[in-house]
């Protein structure tokens, strides 16, 4: 196993079974998806700030284009970036090496899961080029919008006509992607239970391993109904079953329930892995044991269970029973408690720590600040149905959503990249470029998302392409807010090119690591060479310590590697 000869490009990127290579394949595929999603965001933000303008690189945005852009931006970022990056990439890179084993429990299944993911990406991209154009039904795919031109009651025109549509392709892409993530999740779970290093008890695992596993299990429990719903929607479009067709006795609201039964746990599936990543980085850079390790795990499990019971807070304006809405409001507000507990534990870890403001730490602190202060807080307000009914269709929700997802998904991913890049490549990312990247992203993300709160409270609708018919939206200072938001968004997107450059430049030319453990960290991945060989360890570690034993009394150095006898 340790005879790691150099592998050719084709072998490494198409046929390798190594978890690190598969993680890398996922990452590069997701980069492509993010580029598309980011480009779409740029086009419709430009259109929103400057209607009737010919957007550079795109042209005039028609209403149909707008619907298509906003739908696919949402789908790509939620399903392929957030889920893919935080489950597939983080899990593949981190789990086997952090628990001290050579590879996943089922390496071949892991490979197949990547192939499924690739098929889903191809189907998704193909959907833009269908004869009738991309899907424009909103990323939540509510029928009858998502059934497209095959509105119910249209005569059956033949299979090919219905099959070669964006609707069918997007739904198939989603089914393929979820199958892929399920295979990945099963792999993570079995690997964690069965392949831990000697001495690695469950409560000696790093928090991030816990979090990815809880997220995977949560995903498994919640995804079934959505796949069932997707299946029914596919049948509705292609066979004409009419599950969601009110005219034939179906119920369009059924989709909303099936979708959000998955959709709300999904945001916790997305949130948990970055929370785990933050735990690693914060404890390591405060040089202090993580505050309340078991407390964090318990709170996460509690949040996971609660997250299955809050889905209808997405449907307060869909005409659900007001009494049910009250119950869902209360549950939604309760679910903020475990997360408040987790964030408090992180802040308590910082307390009296010897904080090092390294790059990953900056991203981690940025993520916590933005997520808690603006994302989580506005979520509390939106969770109450009384306020939600007012704000629901405005860009207030967009701002809330981006303040929860951007700090966790994007900041969390970057924190992880700046933290672990040197481990998996053997080279450092450039620090100066990293600092510029962080500050520009931090400033212009706020510049983009904060005005949306103000716009939303003023009544800016979040779903229509042309708002100029509403005169109150044209009065000062609202156009100014829209311009600030759009210009910031454009700079924010441009800033990411700094990272892309840094990533690929450092991969080839970055400074080589001097030691295997540049952050003086405890966890097992730092105790092997950088980059780790095929099979991860020369001799497999035996674990004697917990993952966060920093600054323990009676030691001559301020960290205690987990495998130190």
């Amino acid at each position: 196993m340790n005879t790691h000869k150099k592998q050719g490009f084709w072998h490494r990127f198409f046929f390798s079974l190594d978890h690190k290579d598969i993680g890398f394949q996922y990452m590069l595929t997701i980069f492509v998806m993010v580029a598309i999603g980011g480009f779409f965001a740029y086009v419709f933000r430009m259109h929103l700030a400057f209607p009737d303008m010919k957007v550079p690189l795109f042209g005039l945005v028609t209403n149909k284009d707008y619907n298509m852009l906003i739908t696919n931006h949402g789908l790509i970022m939620m399903m392929w970036l957030a889920l893919g990056m935080l489950l597939a990439v983080a899990g593949n890179f981190l789990i086997p090496i952090m628990i001290g084993t050579d590879d996943m429990a089922f390496p071949k299944l892991n490979k197949i899961s990547y192939w499924f993911f690739l098929i889903s990406v191809i189907l998704m991209i193909a959907s833009f080029f269908m004869p009738k154009g991309g899907l424009g039904g909103g990323w939540t795919l509510y029928p009858p919008l998502s059934t497209g031109d095959f509105g119910y009651n249209t005569p059956y025109k033949g299979f090919a006509d219905r099959f070669f549509t964006a609707n069918t392709f997007v739904l198939l892409a989603i089914v393929f992607e979820f199958t892929s993530l399920l295979m990945g999740g099963i792999n993570f779970f079995v690997t964690t239970l069965n392949k831990r290093a000697k001495g690695m008890s469950l409560f000696k695992m790093p928090v991030v391993v816990w979090m990815i596993n809880i997220a995977s299990v949560l995903f498994m429990f919640s995804v079934g109904p959505l796949v069932a719903g997707t299946f029914m929607l596919l049948l509705d479009i292609n066979v004409g079953t009419g599950f969601y067709d009110a005219y034939r006795g179906g119920d369009p609201l059924l989709w909303e329930h099936l979708f959000w039964f998955f959709g709300h746990p999904e945001v916790y599936v997305i949130l948990l892995p970055p929370l785990g990543i933050l735990a690693e980085i914060i404890s390591n850079n405060s040089r202090k044991p993580l505050f309340g390790y078991k407390f964090i795990i318990k709170m996460t499990l509690l949040a996971g269970i609660l997250s299955m019971m809050v889905w209808a807070h997405h449907q307060f304006v869909a005409g659900i029973n007001p009494k049910a809405a009250t119950v869902f409001s209360i549950l939604t507000i309760i679910i903020s408690l475990p997360f408040a507990g987790i964030i408090l534990a992180y802040i308590a870890t910082l307390w009296y720590g010897k904080i090092r403001f390294t790059l990953p730490m900056k991203w981690a602190l940025g993520a916590i600040t933005l997520f808690t202060l603006l994302g989580g807080f506005t979520g509390l307000h939106l969770g109450a149905s009384v306020f939600d009914i007012y704000a629901h269709d405005t860009s207030f929700v967009v701002a809330h959503f981006h303040y929860t997802l951007f700090p966790t998904v994007i900041f969390g991913t970057y924190a992880a990249m700046y933290f672990w890049f040197n481990k998996f490549t053997g080279r450092h990312l450039n620090k100066t470029l990293g600092n510029i990247h962080f500050w520009l992203t931090f400033i212009f993300f706020n510049g983009f998302a904060f005005p949306l709160f103000l716009l939303g409270l003023a009544g800016q609708h979040r779903r229509i392409a042309d708002y100029r018919q509403f005169e109150f939206l044209m009065q000062d200072p609202l156009p100014l807010y829209r311009h600030i938001a759009t210009i910031s968004a454009v700079i924010l997107i441009l800033t990411q090119f700094i990272f892309i450059f840094n990533f690929f430049w450092s991969l080839k030319k970055g400074k080589r690591v001097e030691s295997n453990n540049p952050w003086d960290s405890n966890t097992l991945e730092w105790q092997t060479s950088s980059p780790p060989p095929h099979g991860n360890f020369e001799t497999y570690p035996v674990v004697h310590h917990g993952p966060y034993e920093y600054n323990m009394p009676g030691k001559d150095k301020d960290f205690t590697p987990q495998n130190e006898a």
């Binding site: 079995v190 079934g224 119920d251």
Partner: protein, 193 residues
């Protein structure tokens, strides 16, 4: 300090085999999948005054009931096979019987389905037929997958060591139990209720 090398890390035997854990996760996903479909079906039914709607062909209650007994019997033979395996006995008699009973169920079910189709129960005629075909077809698909897995086990087990056989057998057996246990639920909801 003892060191683990790439040789002996492979020999550590986990308490529950990975494939068994994996199939348990698959079954959880499947339960949620069918849970979604079944709850949609129950909701759709509950809003209707007349169910099944008038003008539909009568569903074959009795044949399907007999067929259900055949399927349940196949679960029992599967159980006997697993019992033998756990006693380290290498008999494939019960595995053969399971495959046979499963195949009988499948063929009878397919025959009934074709008959109903000929009677003129098409999709596109309303929710009842839509749900009927979707649920039956999805369960049928699972039976087919289960049968293929059983045949695969039948072919593969002979060349494997005993512990591999046991984990393979248990993995596929658990999936088969799930497929069998699902049918009475569907039978009750679709044919009887």
């Amino acid at each position: 300090m003892d060191t683990l090398t790439s040789q002996n890390i492979k020999t550590q035997k986990p308490p529950v085999a990975g494939s068994v854990l994996g199939i348990i996760m698959v079954i959880i996903v499947e339960m949620m999948f069918f849970g979604g479909l079944i709850s949609a079906f129950i909701l759709a039914k509950s809003g209707k005054v007349e169910w099944p709607p008038a003008g539909q062909p009568r569903l074959p209650f009795f044949i399907t009931f007999t067929n259900m007994l055949v399927l349940l019997a196949s679960a029992y033979t599967m159980l006997l096979y697993l019992k033998d395996l756990s006693k380290d006995m290498l008999t494939v008699k019960f595995l053969k019987m399971t495959i046979l009973l499963g195949a009988i169920f499948y063929i009878v079910q397919a025959y009934e389905w074709v008959r109903i189709l000929i009677f003129g129960m098409h999709t596109g005629r309303g929710l009842f037929t839509s749900f009927f075909y979707t649920l039956i077809a999805l369960h049928g698909l699972h039976v087919l997958i289960g049968l293929l897995l059983l045949i695969w086990v039948f072919k593969i087990v002979k060349n494997q060591q005993l512990d591999k056989q046991q984990s393979f057998g248990l993995t596929v057996g658990l999936f088969w139990f799930f497929v069998v246990a699902l049918w009475p639920v569907l039978y009750y909801l679709i044919y009887l209720d």
